[in-house]
Symmetry: C2
Subunit: 303 residues, 2 copies
Amino acid sequence: MSALVVDPTAVAQAYRERLRADVADLDEPLRIVGFLGQDDGPAATYARYAAKGCESVGIEFDLRRTDAAGVEAAIGDANADPDVHGIFLYYPIGAPGADRWLRELVDPRKDVEGMHAFWSRCLYENRRWLDASRMVRAILPCTPLAILKLLGEAGLRRTGAAAPLEGVTACVINRSDIVGRPLSAMLANDGAEVISLDLDGAQVFEPAIGRHAHSVRDSDVDRAAALALSDVVITGVPSPDFELVRAEEIKDGAICVNFSQFRNFAPDVPERAASFVPRVGPMTVTMAMRNALRLYRTVQSHR
Amino acid sequence: MSALVVDPTAVAQAYRERLRADVADLDEPLRIVGFLGQDDGPAATYARYAAKGCESVGIEFDLRRTDAAGVEAAIGDANADPDVHGIFLYYPIGAPGADRWLRELVDPRKDVEGMHAFWSRCLYENRRWLDASRMVRAILPCTPLAILKLLGEAGLRRTGAAAPLEGVTACVINRSDIVGRPLSAMLANDGAEVISLDLDGAQVFEPAIGRHAHSVRDSDVDRAAALALSDVVITGVPSPDFELVRAEEIKDGAICVNFSQFRNFAPDVPERAASFVPRVGPMTVTMAMRNALRLYRTVQSHR
């Protein structure tokens, strides 16, 4: 068996073509402002990818260099500027303890990353629409959303039912607030049982079946048991020292996704997996741009 | 039997005395800015109570008149002003559809009402501390917190266990995002089973026992069954037409609390209840001031 390898650049391309057409149809330029605190390093690289992505779909991207002293006021200015439709933050920007607050200072209506607690609440409480008439969808965080879209390309089947992933077991190795935790919640809200592994232990995200949202409990399941059970294995361990997931650890025909910048799966995994998504990056920027368009339309529809 | 009637003004007084001493000990004046969109009506009345409350404990209170066009920039200015430590919003202020966003524009570190989604997330996910070392407590919304404090005065016993309200059944009639819903979540996070009634039906908030937080499900329990089961009955129906809760509907020895500006309990309820809290208002302002002091200390400790 040799796994289908999903190329996120190719998947992103299809979304970008649609986005380019939609952005061109707007009455005014769609403009995103990025705030960058360092000239080099991963944040600067990420900002460059965002700039290229925006250029490719016709979104104006204005990258602003800022620092710990100026960033809060700079975010306030962008919030107040009617010609700015989206805001992107490239951490680290502020003082170490202060960075955590910056995302909360972005007007949620301009939060293309979907990281403001207003959107997190929708996600964790499994509220998919902002309005009772189900016209305005809640915004989802761009990396977990990118992974969900790639899982679809990788062959994860969803039923038409209220819990489209009922019966699926997933293992997510990473429980960061940026990716692993919201991703686990989204999968469990769709009906999957999710085993979340991280340095501080295991948790199970139980499916939102018979209740409004998923439910989280501590667990003593270990890596071996979790991997042996899982139809889907998603890794995001940001370390070169992680003990790679090996083919012998996973289920035959599992769907495997890595969103870390480091390799998390051993080279033999595609021999046993049904499909493999080696990286997610290009889809993350694409989903942020898609969020920008959605937010723009939401704000316009409320004027 | 004649119920203990709890006077929220007297309870608030004890908190205010402690607050006055703590505020006097600070190195600088503690300052709250209130934003008011109308000169008359309930919002203006609430702002007057807040002004009096702040005066009584030595907090500087600066009430600013604003409008739909100016409020977002005004909140931004207050966020950026290091001499402003707390922000209070008196709705309605903005355009009808825009008011819902204002609370998200307040810097959560200045949100004395505890209404920003950053704090709501802590509440709904049952995260009581911001830090792993459990030094900094999360802020709770001021009216539900006021009700919890008054329940203690009314004789609601809490065990020392992880789920101090285990075994308690509560009925909360009101499921607003401001009071009824967060209050139900807080009671269930403490181990109570909460039946939440509102115009759009019944929900049960199941206790956070064996999982990290409460869990919500729809229910078809009706008012009669809910009231007959409940050790605690809390009402907040903002209407003079509500069919008052009568003594015959409640359990012998129930604890009853009304937070509506209208009477929600019939006059015979104190004959059957163990205790009765007829109103909450003075404690709400007091808890907002207490939040202001907590937020000030949190921010100082991170400088």
